[in-house]
Symmetry: C2
Subunit: 210 residues, 2 copies
C-alpha cells in the first residue's frame, strides 16, 4: 500500500451534499465522511476498490457520496452486523483497510457520546453542539486496521440465465429455482390490486424528445 495521498475533504461541502442526498445532516453520516476519507487516502492510487459497510444505517450513504461504490452498482455491500465500521479493499486481492469507531475515544466528546449510546432522547439533543463536536473530533474517534478480505467474500456471484417465472410471469434468475423467489414466498411484502393501466407514452407526462 502506498502512503496516504493528499485527497482533499471539505467538510462544509460534504455536509451540504449529505443534506441533499440523505435528507438531513445526520451525525452518523458526518462521522462516516471522516471514516471513508481515512480509508480512501490509504488505498493505493488507481486501485479498483469495493466497499463493505457493517451497518445499514448512515455509513452506506457516506460511502456512496465519497467513493464510486454504490449499492446499485454492486461495489458497495452491506453486511448488517450493527457495528459502526466500514472497509475499502482491492476488489481483486482483498487487501484493504477497515475503519471503525472506537467507543473508548468517545468519552472526551460528551455530546457525541450521548448521541451514539442513545443516552438522551432525540428532543434533548443539542444538534448544533453535536455537529460542532463531530467536526472538531473528526477522525480522532476512529481506528484503522489493515485487513485481508477472505476469498469467499471476493467471489463474484454466478450470473445465471434470465427466465420467465411460470407463476407470476415476470423475469428472474434461473438459479433461484423453478419459480421466482417471491413466488416461493420469500419477501412476500404486498397484496395486489388489479393492474391499473399499461403505462408509458399514454401518460404523456414526460418528454422523451430532445
Amino acid at each position: 500500500m502506498k502512503m496516504p495521498k493528499n485527497i482533499s475533504f471539505d467538510i462544509e461541502d460534504y455536509i451540504n451534499r449529505v443534506r441533499s442526498f440523505h435528507g438531513h445532516v445526520a451525525p452518523g453520516v458526518i462521522i462516516g465522511g471522516f471514516m471513508v476519507h481515512i480509508a480512501r487516502v490509504h488505498m493505493p492510487e488507481g486501485a479498483l476498490f469495493n466497499a463493505i459497510s457493517e451497518t445499514a444505517k448512515c455509513l452506506p450513504d457516506a460511502i456512496q457520496l465519497l467513493t464510486p461504490c454504490t449499492i446499485g452498482n454492486g461495489w458497495l455491500r452491506i453486511f448488517d452486523i450493527g457495528r459502526f465500521a466500514l472497509s475499502l479493499y482491492d476488489k481483486h486481492s482483498g487487501n484493504g483497510f477497515r475503519v471503525f469507531l472506537n467507543p473508548k475515544k468517545l468519552k472526551d466528546w460528551t455530546e457525541i457520546n450521548s448521541w451514539f449510546f442513545k443516552l438522551n432522547p432525540k428532543p434533548g439533543q443539542n444538534q448544533e453542539f453535536l455537529c460542532t463536536q463531530i467536526k472538531e473530533a473528526g477522525g480522532n474517534l476512529c481506528e484503522i486496521l489493515p485487513i485481508q478480505v477472505r476469498p469467499e467474500f471476493l467471489k463474484k456471484k454466478n450470473k445465471s440465465k434470465i427466465v420467465i417465472c411460470p407463476s407470476c410471469e415476470e423475469a428472474y434468475p434461473s438459479q433461484d429455482g423453478n419459480v421466482c423467489r417471491m413466488c416461493q414466498g420469500i419477501f412476500n411484502y404486498y397484496s395486489e390490486g388489479k393492474i391499473l393501466i399499461g403505462v408509458g407514452t399514454d401518460f404523456g407526462f414526460y418528454d422523451q424528445k430532445e
Copy 2:
C-alpha cells in the same frame, strides 16, 4: 390516491446524474429512472413514502437519484428476490404502487430484449442503439400495480440499547445477543492485521477549520 402530478423528468439530465453517481450509463438504471418516475407521479402529494427494490442491481440507484429514499437513511430497502421491480408506498398506511418490467413488452425492442435476457455477450452489445431504444421505449416496458404493503413489513425495528461487545470491544445493539454478530461468526469477512495507527489530526490531511 390523487391523479398523477406533473413532475418533470428530464432524461438527458438524469443520464448525466447516473453517469456521475453510478459510474457509467447502465441500461438498468436508465430503465429504472422511468420506473421510479411512473411510481412517484402516482403517489399523493405530500405523502411520506418509503421504497422497496426487488433487486440489488441498478434499481436501487435509480430510486436514490430520484426520490428522498436512500439505503443509509432507511427509507429504501432491498428485498433481493431478483425481479426487476420497485415499489413506492406511504410509510404509514402501506398504500402504494409497484412498477415492474413486463417481459412480454420487450419483444418489440430487440436490443433491450437481448440485453435484459443476456442473449448477447457484453462486447457484442451495441450500447448506443440500446440506449436509444430505452429512451424511445421509456415507460412502455412497464406495468403499474396498486399495492398494499403487508403490516409486518411496515413495522419499525425496535431500537435497542447500544452496548460494548466484551469480545471485540466495539459498540453494537444489545438485542443482537451477548456478543456482537461479527463475534458470533456472522459475516466474518476479513482477517486482521495489527492496529496500524490511531488516526485523526495526526495525519493532518484534512483541514477542519473553516
